[in-house]
């Protein structure tokens, strides 16, 4: 049974990666939100599991916070935001869907290749999930870059943060709790600022299609 825990962690990490790929595949913005929600739950699962495995109480608190803030609060705010600015579909992503999926696959390969030396020397039993976390980060970056709706970009960014939280859980069993709390506060403020700006964009341009934002050149 002991051997199963790292495998379960890696399984959870795969689920996080899977959720990160969904925005590249779907065009429906509410589906992005659902994907983000499930990703946060999978992340909380991994975090709690790591906490159980390594006997670190703090990680339970972190996992609970992930569920409460990322899995619930952010999702509610995202739904509200989406209802208010009325974005339903990602009509023309910058890159078409099969291509962006292939790019995602390439990014995963890159993540594995780049983390290979680090994984070989790492000693934590969950090191097998490190490449997955890096892959989540890279894929989410691509999501931010290739989405044209503001909400799509925000969700890409939130998924990027999930990837980093995953990395910190599986690579180093989390960061100290004080720092972790600082991060949550930071994420919350960051999200609120983004929300304010999305409203500003909505007010100024009457749309949140970022395609319209091309006045500044050179």
């Amino acid at each position: 049974m002991e051997a199963a825990f790292p495998q379960l962690c890696i399984l959870g990490a795969s689920a996080v990666l899977l959720a990160a790929i969904i925005p590249l595949w779907r065009r429906h913005v509410p589906a992005y939100i659902v994907a983000f929600q499930w990703q946060s739950f999978a992340l909380a699962f991994v975090t709690a599991l790591v906490g159980y495995m390594a006997h670190i109480r703090e990680l339970y608190i972190v996992a609970a916070l992930i569920v409460a803030i990322r899995g619930m609060l952010f999702v509610r705010l995202l739904r509200k935001l989406q209802a208010r600015v009325g974005e339903i579909t990602e009509l023309k992503p910058l890159v078409n869907i099969p291509t962006s999926l292939l790019i995602a696959a390439t990014l995963v390969v890159i993540a594995y290749a780049a983390t290979r030396p680090a994984v070989l020397v790492a000693s934590s039993p969950t090191r097998g999930a490190m490449p997955l976390a890096i892959a989540v980060i890279l894929v989410s970056m691509f999501t931010v870059a290739s989405r044209k709706t503001a909400i799509g970009q925000v969700i890409g960014f939130l998924m990027l943060e999930n990837g980093i939280a995953l990395l910190s859980a599986v690579a180093s069993y989390g960061v100290p709790l004080t720092v972790e709390l600082g991060l949550f506060l930071d994420a919350l403020l960051g999200f609120l600022v983004m929300q304010i700006l999305v409203f500003h964009i909505h007010d100024a341009f009457d749309t949140t299609d970022v395609e319209q934002l091309s006045r500044l050149k050179h």
Binding site: A118, I164, V179, L197, F205, L216
Partner: protein, 483 residues
């Protein structure tokens, strides 16, 4: 402790005043200015103390003042005081409503406090949090004019900045893997001195990966190409005093974070070759992109912004050239902070008068606003590295360090690009200064009181160009030697 309260508490207090004061009175802008001057005083005091006693800590080890931190602290405090005295909070500026001024008053102080925390705090993760908070505050500041262009610039900046800075955190987490194994999961495990002490036994393989993340992450905030795309938009659309802070010191604060990590990585890898190569590559690329963008610029504010990319690149190049290069780079940080913030503040005045940032529609500046024009021209000459200004000295030192470390080809490339930038900016200046004054522009300086801070800056730049004063020299030597 009192030092920290005075240094960081002052801007926070000013922010609190701006929140609480109802109704918002414009005189409150003076409060910000006075408090920022107090903060500058604390920074200068820290400078004196670090020269006297060497590195010291405050608030039971939470804050750490070593020569590098003090240098950046002084730069930040100076530019924030300058921006406060020249900001729209003081005097009557019609373009902002009271609500906008209140937001400006709150956010600019939070922004400054964030930068001051970033450069003085000992904990590498808190440093990250502070830099991240500057992204949010300054992104909102960019959006304050609420024009389409400013909202767009703000969104780009926030998104690219947030993603970049998140990568830097990924790097921080990766390097924490090793630290945690040695020091245990205590908050002080991310204290910089503890990390440096633990560095010799860290895994080079992990740190190589982590450093790439950190470079790209903080490099995004430092305006390093190819992650610089947000910078020209944000720096040119923000209110002038914010542009001054962002260009003058925020870029340097991000570079400061890179320097902290470079010190750790160099110890862990047993040599600076790896980090130097990366820094030189990124630095040269930024210089290349910026130099050619400068030539084609049509807006003087964007021109200044690209010049910031150029100088950020120069600073990174200097950091990659060993101790002599680091000395030059740090001198350059100080020079650039003074010169660039002054120019942005003057550009704000030009924009106010001419109502446009388009170079083609600004002419006859010398007739319209003689004092501003002369100061602007002097500042621009300083920026392109002409004597007798400070940037000339630091660039010469940087080039000398390049030749001394045997990177001849690279240094010749740098010189060539500097010439390209020189030509591009001179052409723009020529057009702005001379020619007829457009009909709708009124002629004559507004108030002498608005010119004196710029005069102080020019004076400082000339002083730095004639010779590096002893206290600064001692500080820079200490930084270059990594003490």
């Amino acid at each position: 402790m009192i030092l920290v309260i005075l240094l960081i508490g002052s801007p926070l207090a000013a922010a609190a005043v701006a929140v609480l004061a109802r109704p918002y009175r414009r005189a409150l802008g003076v409060v910000t200015a006075v408090l920022s001057t107090a903060s500058l005083g604390a920074a200068l005091f820290a400078w004196a103390r670090v020269l006297r006693e060497g590195t010291f800590t405050a608030a039971s080890g939470g804050f750490r003042f070593d020569p590098l931190a003090v240098l950046l602290t002084v730069c930040v405090a100076f530019v924030s005081a300058l921006a406060a005295w020249m900001s729209p909070l003081i005097g009557s500026r019609e373009e902002y409503t009271d609500a906008q001024l209140r937001m400006l008053g709150i956010l600019v102080n939070v922004f400054v406090a964030g930068m001051l925390v970033a450069v003085t705090v000992n904990n590498l993760a808190i440093m990250w949090v502070a830099i991240e908070s500057t992204t949010m505050a300054s992104a909102l500041l960019v959006a304050i004019p609420r024009t389409k262009a400013s909202v767009e610039a703000s969104w780009k900046y926030l998104l690219i900045g947030a993603v970049g800075i998140a990568l830097a955190f990924a790097g921080t987490v990766l390097s924490y893997v090793d630290v945690r194994q040695q020091l245990g999961p205590v908050p002080s495990a991310l204290h910089w001195d503890a990390v440096v002490a633990a560095a010799p036994s860290m895994h080079p393989q992990v740190l190589r990966l982590a450093f790439v993340f950190i470079l790209v992450g903080y490099g995004t905030k430092a305006g390093i190409a190819p992650m610089h795309t947000w910078l020209p938009d944000a720096h040119s659309e923000a209110p002038a005093s914010i542009s001054a802070l962002m260009s003058g010191v925020l870029l340097a604060v991000s570079t400061y974070a890179v320097m902290r990590w470079k010190a750790v990585v160099d110890v862990a890898l047993g040599g600076a070759l790896y980090s130097n190569r990366l820094l030189l590559t990124f630095g040269f690329l930024s210089l290349l992109v910026a130099a050619f963008s400068l030539v084609v610029q049509r807006s003087y504010k964007r021109m200044l912004a690209y010049s910031s990319v150029e100088h950020s690149g120069l600073i990174w190049l200097g950091l990659g050239l060993g101790p002599a290069g680091t000395f030059a780079a740090m001198l350059h940080v100080a020079n650039h902070a003074i010169g660039k913030s002054m120019l942005f503040l003057l550009a704000g005045r030009i924009l106010q008068r001419y109502g446009t940032t388009d170079l083609r529609r600004v002419s006859g500046l010398l007739t319209a606003m003689p004092a501003t024009a002369v100061l602007f021209a002097a500042g621009l000459f300083a920026l392109i590295g002409a004597p007798p200004f400070g940037l000339f000295v630091s660039e010469i030192r940087l080039v000398a360090a390049g030749f001394a470390t045997g990177r001849t080809l690279l240094t010749i490339g740098v010189l060539a690009l500097l010439v390209v930038a020189f030509v591009g900016m001179l052409r723009a200046l020529n057009h702005m200064l001379f020619g007829p004054v457009p009909d709708e522009v009124t002629v004559g300086e507004a108030r002498a009181s608005e010119v004196w801070p710029a005069l102080v800056c020019i004076g400082l730049l000339v002083a730095l160009g004639l010779g590096v004063p002893a206290p600064l020299h001692a500080l820079l030597v200490a930084v270059a030697e990594g003490r």
